[in-house]
Amino acid sequence: MTTRTPPRAALVRAAVVRTGWALVAAVPLVAHAHKPFLVPSETVLSARGWITVDAAVSNDLFYFNHQPLRIENNLRIIGPDGGAVEAANLNTGKFRTTFDVNLTASGTYKLAMVNNSLQATYEADNGERKRWRGTAATFAGEVPANAQNLQVSQTQTRIETFVTSGKPNDTALKATGTGLELVPVTHPNDLVAGEPATFRFVLDGKPAAGIKVMVVPGGTRYRNKQSEQHVVSGNDGQVSLTWSDPGMYWLEARVEDDKAMKPAKTRRASYIATLEVLPP
């Protein structure tokens, strides 16, 4: 095993001390090193009733050994009729956040954690390099108007999973039209080992070509390789994925462009999903 780089949390703390980084909103650190995920207790149910969901950030899939995913007003659960569903029993512990969802209707539920934030770096009057994180609303009040070498970027993150009770439907799966999203060609609760699946990626509602997608099977503790699958979306935004074994899989898609919300100049959009593949 190669030495690990220090956990990103430690680097962040060091950066805060050095540069006076003002963390305004509690935004999860979606870093290259650590993977955030929502893992439902089940994804295919034949009755109405409860499921429970774990939300965490870790290098290892799907283990709770690093940080909980902090859920504060950014959880969006959409039911089979397209309406909002409330989570119950939300609790944040040392290494994971948990919540329960009562599936009272038949059909497909989409569970998503959505974040949209701005980051900026600039030089203060005394030449000190500063970092800032917040929203378009808080920017003017917190970043000095005369900031030098100001660079502002936007980060959009969507972390999703899917659960179906009874007959699957796709009302909840419609794109919202903001950021990077997955729209089914294959229904995400219809995944079977040995059968290829096709998904379409849309960026701000439009099919997105050239999106880099990575898929990693869970159970990383019990094997010696990451076994990642890498694909790139075609002109129609579509990717085709294969899974030889059943299990939970982690999918990440990311893109960077300049279609950012003012005052940001660049936009980084990420889409992450936990997908359950069942035995044939």
Binding site: S46, A47, R48, G49, T164
Partner: protein, 173 residues
């Protein structure tokens, strides 16, 4: 012209009756298992087309306590193949198809070509599929390919390895 039409009518009637008289009998062995905690398996039996779609559901044995309807359906998804191919699109219970779980032993089902379960089967290649899933046990699928209508009396068999014993399909046109 009248002679030709008459000949065509006779041909159609004759082909239709080839299947309607056919008797299909199925014998399914649920093995006696020596386990600490035995629960009767959930079993689904269906006729599957070549494209893996379900042509006909012949049996779904799952109902337990009639007062615990939601509890019974909770484990239906354990019949993973059947659930995905048919179960999740159905409104349960299905008259003449669904029923209680059955004990270990030999269970017979008989249908003739006139009955609704078989009457709408188009000519072609099919598979008789039996799936069994047992609580704290395994899941197994046994398949027997057959042609419809049957071109003669046939005795076909397949054997499971753990959750299903011998499954015998007899076709008598």
């Amino acid at each position: 012209m009248r002679v030709l039409m008459f000949g065509a009518l006779v041909t159609v009637a004759f082909t239709g009756s080839l299947a309607s008289g056919t008797e299909l009998s199925l014998a399914i062995e649920l093995p006696q298992l020596d386990v600490a905690e035995y629960h009767r398996p959930y079993v689904a039996i269906w006729v599957e087309r070549e494209d893996q779609s379900v042509a006909s559901n012949l049996g779904v044995w799952y109902e337990g306590n009639p007062r615990k309807v939601n509890e019974n359906t909770k484990f239906l998804a354990e019949l993973r193949t059947w659930w995905r191919r048919s179960g999740r699109n159905q409104t349960l219970p299905i008259d003449g198809v669904t029923g209680a779980t059955r004990a270990a032993g030999l269970h017979q089902l008989k249908f003739n070509g006139n009955q609704p379960q078989l009457a709408t089967l188009a000519a072609g290649k099919y598979q008789m599929v039996v799936e069994a899933a047992r609580e704290n046990g395994g899941r197994e699928v046994v398949r027997i390919p057959f042609d419809w209508p049957a071109k003669g009396a046939q005795s076909l068999q397949a054997k499971g390895e753990h959750e299903l014993g011998t499954v015998a399909l007899n076709l008598t046109p």
